[in-house]
Each structure stands twice: as structure tokens, then as C-alpha cells.
């Protein structure tokens, strides 16, 4: 299945705005992040939060085909 990745703020500067990616059925949001960290160890220190289809999810959240998966560094609005 395919999902769309989006990155914001410091992660966007390191990884770009996002990309489409093929993932195995059953892949979790956390596993996807771990795969990104393996490819880019410099992001390992980021205390990431993940949103799927504009809602925060836990790392164990299972992805579905067509999901938009957004990765956030700590938010700092205000």
C-alpha cells in the first residue's frame, strides 16, 4: 500500500516537505518513523509526534492505504 509522508519545521528542513512511499500492510506509524531514523540517524534525537490524516496517533497506530502521515518536532506556537 502507499502512504503520503509530510514533514514540518526542523524535520522539513532535513527531509524535505514529504514524499509518497510504499509500505507493507500492517506497518505502524512508529515503525515508519524508525525506518526514517535508520535512513537519517541525525533525526533520532527528535521527540517526534505523528499525525495520521490530521489527527494525533500513538506509535502503534496501524496505517491504511492512502493515509497522510505527518511527522512533527515539538510544537512551539504562541
Amino acid at each position: 500500500m502507499r502512504v503520503r509522508l509530510r514533514f514540518f519545521a526542523s524535520l522539513r528542513e532535513r527531509l524535505g516537505p514529504g514524499e509518497e512511499r510504499a509500505v507493507r500492510t500492517g506497518t505502524t506509524a512508529g515503525a515508519l518513523w524508525e525506518a526514517l531514523v535508520r535512513a537519517q540517524p541525525a533525526i533520532a534525537a527528535v521527540r517526534v509526534r505523528i499525525a495520521v490524516n490530521e489527527r494525533y496517533v500513538e506509535p502503534g497506530h496501524e496505517l491504511a492505504d492512502g493515509d497522510e502521515v505527518a511527522f512533527f518536532p515539538p510544537v512551539s506556537g504562541g
Binding site: 526542523s10 490530521e54 515539538p74 512551539s76
Partner: protein
């Protein structure tokens, strides 16, 4: 301001925020403006640059307003956050709350800005004399300042 919950890329107009919460049953309207301060952690701040996941940010703002209504008897809530460059002295965020009485309006407004800073997907990059830094929600921790990038040759001891 047409939208009561919005991400905007232009200066925030406090008058229209207050107009958005005007209500004949309100005895109090509280307005909070967060503005760019000229220093942070000993750095001379020249401006702040904000980025948002806009659709989700507005969704989270609406959700916060719903939660506030469950906690306090409010009349109306309006929340606007600016993105892009925000010079020193200008507002990056505005929250207006109206209620029958002042206590709940003050409390709800305070709670809303605290929660907004914790969960709404917006990020600020501080531009200071000598460089830029992304600000994390937990300042002081190692990753709080996730990425520090100084202009070459401009690094100074702090």
C-alpha cells in the same frame, strides 16, 4: 476577521477578534495577544518565523474551544495564529473569549493559550543576532532547541 479559527499570514487585528466574540449575553471579553519579544534566553531576537500544518492547526483550535466550553460557561471563542515572519512587537497569536462573567473568561483564555502551545501544530523559528534556531516546546532540554544553525562566522559565545 471572517473566521473565528484561522491561520493567517497578515497582521492580526485585535478589534476584529473582539468583534468575533461580541455577544449580548456576555459581561466580559478577554483578549490575549502573544507578541514577538526582542530577547529570548539571552539572545537578541530580531523576528520570529512561524510555520503551521494549517488544516490540522485549525481543527485543533476548534477542538480546544470545544473543550473550553465544557469546562467553563462561555459565550464565544476566537483563535487566530499568524504564520510567516512576525517582527518584534507584532502579534503572532490572538485569543478572544467572551463569557457572562470575567472569571471564566480570564481562566478559559489562559487555559487556551497554554494548551495551544502544547498541541496545536505550529512551530517557531527564532531569528536572532548571529543565527536562527527552531524552538521546541520543552526549552532547556537537549532537543528542545532541535536544530541550531548559525550563520558561518557569526557564532558568538553566549
Amino acid at each position: 476577521m471572517a473566521e473565528r479559527f484561522a491561520i493567517v499570514d497578515a497582521p492580526i487585528d485585535p478589534g476584529s477578534l473582539l468583534a468575533a466574540v461580541a455577544d449580548p449575553a456576555a459581561g466580559a471579553s478577554v483578549l490575549f495577544l502573544g507578541t514577538t519579544r526582542n530577547e529570548n534566553a539571552g539572545r537578541r531576537v530580531t523576528r520570529l518565523e512561524y510555520e503551521a500544518f494549517a488544516d490540522m492547526a485549525v481543527r485543533e483550535m476548534r477542538q480546544l474551544a470545544r473543550q473550553a466550553r465544557r469546562r467553563w460557561p462561555l459565550r464565544r471563542v476566537a483563535i487566530v495564529h499568524r504564520i510567516g515572519l512576525v517582527p518584534v512587537g507584532e502579534a503572532s497569536v490572538g485569543i478572544a473569549v467572551s463569557a457572562g462573567h470575567r472569571a471564566e473568561a480570564f481562566e478559559a483564555c489562559h487555559w487556551l493559550i497554554d494548551r495551544l502551545k502544547e498541541i496545536v501544530p505550529i512551530w517557531k523559528k527564532e531569528h536572532y543576532r548571529g543565527g536562527t534556531v527552531w524552538i521546541g516546546s520543552q526549552q532547556g532540554s537537549p532537543e528542545g532547541n532541535a536544530v541550531v544553525a548559525r550563520r558561518r562566522g557569526a557564532a558568538r559565545s553566549r
